[in-house]
Amino acid sequence: MSDAVTPPAAVAGTGIQKRDIGIKRRYAAERRFRAYGLIAIALGILFLTALLYTVISKGYTAFQQTAISVPVTFSEKIIDPKGERAQNPQALMMANYPVLARNGLVRELGIDPKNKKLVSAAGKMLSAGSRVQLRDMVLADPSIIGKTLPVWILASGDIDSAFKGQVDLSVDQARRQVDDQQIAWMNQLAKDNILVKRFNTGLFTYGASSRAETAGVGVAIIGSLYMMGIVLVLALPIGVAASIYLEEFAPKNRWTDLIEVNINNLAAVPSIVFGLLGLAVFINFAGMPRSASLVGGLVLSLMTLPTIIIATRAALKAVPPSIRAAALGLGASRTQMVFHHVLPLAAPGVMTGTIIGLAQALGETAPLLLIGMVAFVVGVPASPMDPATALPVQIFMWANEAERAFVERTSGAIIILLGFLAVMNITAIILRRRFERRW
């Protein structure tokens, strides 16, 4: 465009009209406002980081456990001093196995066996869990009596903490759980590679124990799995059926309105109230056993139901009416329409909702406390009727223990719980990404 053809007077070259509209002040306010937003987000992320850092820094050591390789002599004199094991199998059960382990360690350290004080101090370096460990070895193969075998025995919780550097050694030895002598032995054994940190399988397999080194979340994981199974079996079909009815069949009237409001409200009822319900109805009224994962599963199912219903209804709503019209137009009945067309299309949404509901149920603690899942359960529950605990409840129980070794276990259990949740949520996200359909 050449300027020549534009009439010269045409462009008023005065620039934009300037008025005092407080631009500077307003932009300052704008910047402040944005800064508040950024600060809020930063705080949120800071809190998240602090939380995860706390848990991980305190808990990652729980996945390793200190063990000592002790040459144990299965001396008949100690195990079966009266030689009565042929007649009375109970004898092998009652034997004083920790002494075997202690004697082994005393020999290893070269301590004078007559020095009672030193021997006892050395014995305290080993976990009392050696009783069960050695007993099981002998029961499995009584022929080892009289032989000497190297056995990996867990170090006691205090030695474990000390070896992981969690004990402040500058404190006067009278005021800590491990004395200088034990530290010296520990270092000596560590130098010879007799005392080492090994992967802590016990954390995943042991049940409750009053000693940190033999406490694990095995029972809790089984309990949680039972409950998740029950939730899946009950809440998923009932939730899907209820949503199908409400979304596809229910007439719009007062009753369905009531159900709708009721479901939204149930989703926001405090979880502890469901615990009270479980206690009153399932345990007191129906007479189901306390502490059983069956009751826990029922309570969690009722709690998860609204979540699943809300998610399923959203998924059903997202299926466009044209699909329904097409099916009905071909002469399908409403039921056929729903089960042949709508439900399969909504399935990914239902799955995602279910997984999220399950994750919620897995992390729930309060209602389980009320139905007595705070039990001290040592043995693995064989069925959902047996007493069990759940992962979050186990965390709660350990959180109340003051010992350093338990704090580590607690954090370790939290890491395991968060790991489960992460896997579930990531699965849900992948499902959503993969199968999400935009109409």
Partner: protein
């Protein structure tokens, strides 16, 4: 073709050129793209002082995009890029030294669907003056609100319920409220994006009448789908097609004797 359109128009209209008012806003080589989609190609268009300029064309031709460039409303859309120059009184409005808030205070906008804020009628009109600090006291604010409503021809209808919700008005009243809201900031240019598309014929007539009155004090750019509306309210018309400016000129000439076949076809209803 675009490069010569103005010269051609000026030449063709001949005698009329001498009476042309000065240019208020001017777009040169305006290119707009949303992500990978280019919406406008090399648009050159002048908006003249105290005239109503109508932008017409089939849907998706870029007329609304161009309108939104004039007060940089496109800034709010993610991925939107504007190239070329648009000036207001000779100053490039995309120049970094120009403040978008100041620009919009001077180039107001009325939208397709009436969008009163969920506040009272009074507060709707007072909103602009309040954020820009245009009134120093309550009395002055009352006056601004009243004159703006009067100018929008709404005052008589709502004077008894200034403090009721603006969303309670009828569609046409809501749109005039939005116009009053824009006037209250005393802009120089008012952009209207199909202001009557959501209104019934009677309300439309009222708004059109209003536009004609407002021309005395303001420069107006209006996007419209209706040929008749463009013919009724505007002095100049620009025809857009597929993101290009096809033709621009005095409205009566455009509607009686357009240069371009596409304009002819569009006006006579062959497509659009």
């Amino acid at each position: 073709m675009n490069m010569m359109s103005e010269a051609a128009v000026e030449a063709a209209v001949g005698a009329k050129t001498t009476a042309q008012p000065p240019i208020k806003m001017q777009g040169r080589l305006v290119n707009v793209s949303y992500g990978d989609n280019q919406a406008l190609f090399d648009v050159d268009l002048d908006v003249r002082l105290h005239q109503v300029t109508a932008l017409i064309g089939p849907s998706g031709c870029g007329k609304s995009t161009f309108l939104r460039c004039l007060n940089r409303m496109n800034d709010t859309i993610e991925g939107c890029r504007v190239k070329g120059s648009i000036t207001l009184d000779g100053a490039d409005i995309y120049d970094p030294s120009i403040d978008v808030v100041e620009l919009r205070a001077n180039v107001g906008m009325v939208f397709q669907k009436p969008n009163p804020f969920p506040k009272t009628i009074y507060e709707n009109v007072a909103y602009g003056p309040r954020i820009h600090g245009l009134a120093t006291g309550k009395a002055e604010m009352d006056e601004i609100v009243e004159t703006s409503l009067r100018k929008a021809g709404l005052f008589e209808e709502v004077k008894d319920r200034l403090h009721t919700a603006g969303t309670g008005l009828s569609g046409g009243q809501q749109q005039r409220l939005c116009i009053a809201r824009a006037i209250a900031v005393s802009p120089e240019v008012i952009l209207m994006d199909e202001p009557c598309s959501a209104l019934d014929p009677i309300a439309t007539a009222k708004v059109e009448e209003l536009i004609d009155e407002l021309r005395v004090n303001y420069t107006i750019v209006i996007v419209t789908h209706s040929m008749q509306q463009a013919a009724r309210v505007s002095q100049r018309t620009a025809m857009f097609h597929l993101g290009r400016l096809v033709e621009e000129g005095a409205t009566d000439k455009m509607f009686t004797n357009p240069d371009d076949q596409r304009t002819q076809d569009y006006i006579t209803g062959r497509y659009g």
